[in-house]
């Protein structure tokens, strides 16, 4: 399967909005670095009038020296959580050595008694020596907004930097979804989180995950 059939290629940059497999192009030199960045799916908001916002998806970014890339990389893209549901996990599974993988866990759903969903967690789960990372950065997702049950209080989603932001918890709107620089934006009440794992606002779905692979100079 050609990588071009499953990812959008932008001249040395591949964007996976759905699950697929990355195969290193033959023209990449062994002393070049590839950067792999990923976001998990955002949690959905609670459906009740007091529902909390969904938690934002988590984030990782790592650089690999191309000479250590010894086979395909399977990409699994976490879906956005449905209303009352958790976001999916995003994974990169490496096909060599001891089959290491990187996982970012989906944002949690907002509860129906007003508690915002927890942001997703990141991890690097690989056997020592099996995956030579020259750099690794991770950030947990931001939590969804929390409004005490029956309080009529509106609460914005929490903000993030690289990870995704949380969704708003509000009966009637009036605040905002959480904001993120690189990740998905949290939705307001009734509005889905955006792609890259934004948490859904109350009574809305979370944003899907994403993986970006770039060849560095």
């Amino acid at each position: 399967m050609s990588v071009l059939s499953i990812a959008q290629s932008l001249g040395g940059r591949w964007v996976f909005s759905a699950s697929g497999t990355f195969i290193m192009p033959g023209n990449i030199k062994k002393n070049q670095l590839i950067r792999i960045s990923g976001w998990s799916g955002g949690g959905g908001g609670g459906s009740d009038k007091d529902g909390g916002g969904g938690g934002g998806g988590s984030y990782f970014s790592t650089d690999l020296l191309c000479q250590y890339v010894d086979g395909p990389i399977q990409i699994i893209i976490g879906a956005g959580g449905p209303i009352n549901g958790d976001g999916g996990n995003t994974e990169c599974r490496f096909s060599w050595g001891l089959y290491p993988k990187l996982v970012v866990y989906g944002g949690k759903r907002g509860s129906n008694d007003g508690v915002g969903g927890a942001g997703g967690l990141f991890s690097k789960n690989y056997a020592a020596g099996a995956l030579l990372l020259s750099r690794f950065v991770g950030e947990n997702g931001a939590a969804g907004g929390t409004s005490p049950s029956g309080s009529l209080i509106s609460s914005p989603g929490n903000d993030a930097i690289c990870a995704a932001a949380g969704g708003e918890s509000s009966q009637n709107g009036g605040t905002r979804g959480g904001l993120s620089v690189m990740g998905g934006q949290g939705g307001i009440t009734g509005q889905p989180g955006s792609a890259r794992g934004g948490g859904g606002g109350r009574n809305a779905v979370g944003g899907r995950g994403e993986v970006v692979i770039e060849v560095l100079a």
């Binding site: 759905a18 699950s19 697929g20 459906s47 699994i76 879906a79 449905p82 989906g106 129906n112």
Partner: protein
């Protein structure tokens, strides 16, 4: 398509895929099911707390 990863009859992950390929080639379509739902090979059932939450 939205697919569900099943382990021991329970949904452990929900993913987006544009083709059936690799390890997710035989995962069932999730519909509106989420993580934590049970799957009997035919249909998905929400967890008990979610059934309580969505009941009138």
């Amino acid at each position: 398509m939205i697919l569900a990863q099943i382990e021991n009859g329970v949904v452990v992950n929900i993913i987006i895929a544009d083709t059936r390929f690799g390890i997710w080639s035989d995962w069932p379509e999730a519909g509106n099911a989420g993580i934590g739902w049970s799957f009997d090979g035919q249909k998905f059932t929400p967890p008990a707390d979610l059934e309580t939450m969505v009941s009138p």
